[in-house]
Symmetry: C2
Subunit: 208 residues, 2 copies
């Protein structure tokens, strides 16, 4: 990592994501604090209960309140706002523990929706019945109707997400980020996967 | 109930559904056994561990093996087979603890897929983060993009199911059954809701 670059962090539900201007590093909360406590770092965070611990770190600055997005709503996660700030137009999918889909038009937020993440979905099927306890067929084809339980579940997850996103991305650029972003993007011929999108959004509004 | 009618039962993941030729009664396992143990009844069942208890009831007959559906797959639930046997053509949605969607063409099963049920989906969001612990907005409009968390979740569940089913029901009749069937059917202008569909399917193949 370049020592002179401004460090940006996105503190999510399960991990710290840290960007040094070149690449994104994914760390546990403990590892991130241990590694970066003495570095200058600006962060956004959806984890309110972490605040006290982090506030003590003098070289870290919470810039969540600077993520101002025209048209947003009160309880919208700050990571979603940052992602939407990365481009003025498009559909933005963050596929992590949850999958958020947000639409931007001429710099104004239009609305969005939320799916459970793929891992959470598989857990969900499993809890309904042991018969539905299967993994994901990551090679599932959406071209033909499934004829096994595993494929029926995989298709149910992927094809429904795709069908709805297709409706909203017809005339718009489609961007993916997040842990399952690359995988999901592979089902959309013209999708752009970029794990730095949230940080690009942060940089757009940052005065630091 | 007419005392001379043949009783049919569909033993599901959470309830007994009993049909007397006129209407469907939904009972707990215990209540169903208590009420109907001395009546002649034919049943299909997805609950294998219930078998021993039920086998002792001399007046009840398991007809699961008679649900023969051309084109089906080995692990396909017998209730789904019965539902598909109700009509030769169409898309068949059973919206219960899970939501199954199956396609029939000229009497032959074409394949299908599975969503978690609405209740299971809401539980799933809740487990991801307390922020996503909301109920369903049962009046959610699919005409505009949501701008609250509750609407974003409600839209994520309903609009994705609708988007995928719309693709498969374009030129086909669309049938709904199950506990959430009536509610889900309300999002499809030409859908038919009928809580007796599984039993209609059973009656088609029944020699009893």
């Amino acid at each position: 990592m370049r020592s002179d670059a401004l460090l940006l962090a996105d503190i999510g539900n399960t991990h710290f994501h840290i960007y040094n201007g070149e690449r994104v590093e994914h760390l546990s909360y403990e590892d991130a604090i241990e590694k970066y406590a003495d570095k200058n770092l600006c962060y956004i965070s959806v984890k309110h209960h972490l605040e006290d611990k982090i506030k003590k770190i003098k070289s870290w600055k919470n810039i969540s309140n600077e993520m101002i997005l025209e048209g947003d709503y009160t309880t919208m996660g700050v990571d979603r706002k940052a992602l939407c700030l990365s481009h003025k137009d498009g559909v933005f999918v963050d596929a992590g523990s949850a999958i958020t889909v947000d639409v931007m038009k001429e710099g104004i937020y239009q609305g969005g929706y939320i799916f459970p993440g793929i891992k959470a979905m598989l857990e969900c099927y499993k809890r309904i019945s042991p018969v539905l306890d299967t993994g994901l067929n990551e090679m599932i084809s959406l071209q033909q109707l499934p004829t096994t339980t595993k494929d029926g579940i995989s298709y149910g997850i992927i094809a429904s997400i795709k069908a709805l996103i297709d409706i909203h991305s017809k005339d718009r650029a489609l961007y993916f980020t997040g842990g399952d972003g690359k995988f999901l993007a592979s089902y959309f011929p013209d999708a752009i996967y970029d794990e730095t999108l949230v940080f690009q959004g942060i940089k757009k509004v940052l005065v630091c």
